[in-house]
Amino acid sequence: MNEQINSTPIERGGWKTVFRMCYLPQKKLFHKVIVLALMTAAIEASFTLITKQVVDEIVAHGKDANLAGYGLLYMAMLAVLIYCIRTFIRDTGKLSTSLMYSLRKRSFEHLQTLSFDFFDNNAVGWLVARITSDTARIARIVAWGTLDLFWGIPMILGIFIVLFVLDSKLGLVVLGLFPFLAAVAWIFNQKILNSSRDLRRTNSRLTAVYNEGIAGIQTSKILVREKQNLEEFQVDSAKMYRQSMHNLLLTSAFFPFVNVFVSLAMGIALWLGGAEVLAGALTLGTLVAFMTYARTLMDPMLEVSETLANLQRTTACVERVIGLLAVEPSIKDSEKVEQLIQDAYERGAEAHDGGDTRIASIEFRNVDFAYKPEEPVLSNFNLQVERGRSVALVGPTGSGKSTIVSLLCRFYEPTQGELLINGIDYRERSLHWLQSNLGIVLQTPFLFSGTVKSNIRYGKLDASDEDVIAAAKAVNVHDIIMQMENGYDTEVQEGGSNLSTGQKQLISFARAIIHDPQILVMDEATASVDTQTEARLQTSLQKVLEGRTSFIIAHRLSTIRNADLIVVIESGRLIEQGSHSELLAQKGHYYELYRKQYQTEQEQELLNA
């Protein structure tokens, strides 16, 4: 249905890469599975030969027939076969599981290195599908496909050889039929797979229609559109009906078709072979063997054709996954920095890359930035901030405030100009060093599933319970947490759906504080919280900001007013800067913004009374 955005390039010829990735580390297991598959094929193909011998023995010797020897042989073969089956299922399972494991691990770890421009252009749902379902399909088809092909093809060949040896003329006639069967099976498999894909597509379309229908129920009601809605839905559900029918009927036509082919082979064997039996040129056992083999051949035939069709289908998955792994991160440590990290590690330096640990000053020097080349967001932006100062960024939506902090966090890098930390371009320092000195609170707080405690601890993994409580107290959320059902051990559901936005915001604030960052970034952190939460944040903010360099994007006057430096931005340019009182005295942009906001806040107060 909805084509989710993605810009990951597709990698052609991905199978070769996948083959190398799968086969090389697991050579032994692959070889074992192949040997087991061959043994199984050999035994299964030989069972019919025993039947032949038994029938011949009975016809030839009647009451004196001695079947004990064959019985023992049958049991012995059965034992080996069962051993093979059990072992190859386990080994192929191990192979498929470990392939899935390593493909997923690789792609997940690779994603962790990619930069934000990648995530801007690839929807989360799309990426999740690559890591979970594509990798699973690839692993399955590689492992079980190897088994099926190494079992099926030798078995078909083996049976052909046996038939040919038993009676070359009859053998040739029966064999002549099988290319047709193979062709029919191939065509059917293609059709079935195509129709299954259409069916899945229609099914997700139906889900989307339901989803929209449910979300828009009230709208439909007040516009009295129920009847037309149903009529439109029926068009989709009727399509689903037709496609499901088509899919089911294709599958049900397939097997009778195959059966007719098999019976044709059996019929011809009976006709030609029967005449030879009467003429004494063929034993009855051989005839029985021919008729049985015609049926036995069906299984490997179907299996091989299905595997080949699936293999073809999986190509798209392979190209997507390999394409994903081939994406290079656009922001990463340069080789020089990597060398520094290496040296620092050997030296046991305090900072990750051996440079300063303390951030004494930050400077934006002539910074330009654009997400897309033709749409500049920041131009010639200059700003200098000393350690311990708080900076409020003010300006209309889309003026570039968030971009400034994204650049500071090195989520993106300036397209022109430099960002200097302690006078050094931050591209000469390691990403890890900078980012581990940051604390960020975003407008829409994001919590992970787990407990409240584990979420706060995310900021400092080795924090003790006391540390966690201290951080919570520092941001005035301790008593809120204590009022929750299980206090700090309250489970946060996926997406934090059991907490209010205000609670989530305060917890994410605590998470940033426990991290004890040198730079604190608050990007509209108070925009979507209620007045009570706002008040709680305000009272703690002064204390928490002490000694840290902070960048605050906010609308609320109380937050802005207390900043050491207020920077007014419009269309990516800095137009005013100074303290609250200085800027008010200028009666410029800030004065206007402040006045409008003042009115809005007064109004809010009255309306929310």
Binding site: I85, Q112, V224, S237, P256, A275
Partner: protein, 620 residues
Amino acid sequence: MSTKSHSQYQVLIDLIRNKKWYYLGSVISVGIASYFMFLVPTIGKEAIDRVLTEPRVEKEDLVQRMIDWAGGAEMLANQLWLAGGAIVLVTIVSGLFMYLKDYLAASACESTVQRLRDHLYHHLHHLSEKYIGSAESGDILQRCTSDIDTLREFLTMQVMNIGRTLVLMAIVIPLMFMQHAGMTLLSLILVPIVLYYARKFFFQVRDLFQQVDEAEGALTTIVQENLTGIRVVRAFARQDYECEKFEEKNSTYSDLNYRLICMFANFWAFSDLLCLLQSGLVLFGGGWLASQGVITVGTYFAFIGYTSMLIWPIRQLGKELSEAGKATVAITRIQEILDAPEETSSAKAMHLPERFKGTIEFDQVSFGYEPDRQVLNDVSFSIRAGETVAIVGPTGAGKSTLIQLLMRLYDYGKGSIKIDGMELKHIGRKHIRGQIGTLLQEPFLFSRSLRENIKFSHLKASDEAMVLAAKSAAVHHTIESFQKGYETVIGERGVSLSGGQKQRVTLSRTLLKEPPILVLDDTLSAVDAATEQQIIQALHSKKGEQTLLIITHRISVCQKADRVFVMQNGRLVEQGSHRNLLTKHGFYRELWEIQSGQKERFEQDVSSAKQQGDIELGVT
């Protein structure tokens, strides 16, 4: 909805009963198909016994008469293609009946599912507001989609396969007995064990299956959360920690999955052993009987065929039976939705005018969503047709509730509401909703073109009318500025609109309806003041033709209204014209003071900041 009590599987029972002839037809077809399948080894048997081996078996029966008719065994020996042809023919007939059975069963199942889908969709649109308000939409969606899929799978796979295997057994086993009772027993002796073992196994692994599913779900959650919260991850430089978390779930899933596969390895190996032992019993036991002359070689051949025809589907039966268990949960969940109450329809048949005039009268109306919490308290007012009324008040005062009652989304408890002098409860829901144009606070647009969205409630409207509506809502120029104009598709697959644009599109959708009563519930909150003025201006050009209720907090809107209602705590506390209300020192006057800048707190604030700044400067 009727009040009769349902059995748990009522849906299923009703739907299957509707298609009973299809189901019966498919049972008969599969029976015939099974019989012909049975004939394949039987023909081989007769050919071997009566033609190919010496001495030839001769019995006075139907087969012998057929052979005599064809020219006798001697003749047949030269014409063996007849026997071969018979095998092919019988297979074709069996195949045709198998296909007929699939056709009947598939159309019965699929149309059952289709009807259920349509019914659910219809039902959803008639659920009471109360139910929709309290239910989670994700849950409803899941019941309508994945639970229906499970049911479909159950009908088309499990029911069909179980049915086929049972009918096959019912037809073939008696026929085998008719051929040779002893051989039949020998061929089936392990079958009950296979069935029992398969069933037991699949019930046993169900728990593990669920664990694997959950582990996979947990893994997906980790990936999902990591990608959604990627900013948080990067901001704390927690990539390594995230990898560890992923690693843990990844290996948990792998271990569980491998455990499941190992259990399957045991199952397939052991059940293969049982099945092949069964074949071996027939091969050697039957072989011995044949060598002793107890049975003919042909019979021996036939039973080898019968055994393999039966044993593999029976092994599969265990799996199908355990899968069927899953469906019961899905069916119960679907039934729960179907049992949810629909809005009651008013049974009072009275003559209703095609178009109302638009007078509204509230008389001592009280209402609460929950019985113990009143949202509206004894509200009375009357509005003339064509009057414009602005309603102001703080959040939670009950303004929106007024509208919900008027639209009959909820039904009022105490008091009376009259439209054009008729009691609202006696006017059909759809009828009254057709008379009132309103917009929800959260504008909702469907992911289709703008044209379809605006014409959503009035499909037959002309393009001129659509453009006029869009102009009145001050959105025409915006739409024209899009590359595809009114054909622009919006939503997930297309252009995303800003909040204000959405509000204006929904407004034009409502205006196109030209309702006698128009209600705007804080509809223009995301629209800037100038555009709002423009819209209000356009609406006022129709003054007198349309009763207009505007819930707002903008004084500029109230000034243009005939009357202003002020609501607080579920009561109508003030009403009158703008001028009138300004003389009272209430909520309205306070709002006016703030908006018109009458309150000089701001200047005070600024000058105090200045002083403070001066002090600071003085210090430095």
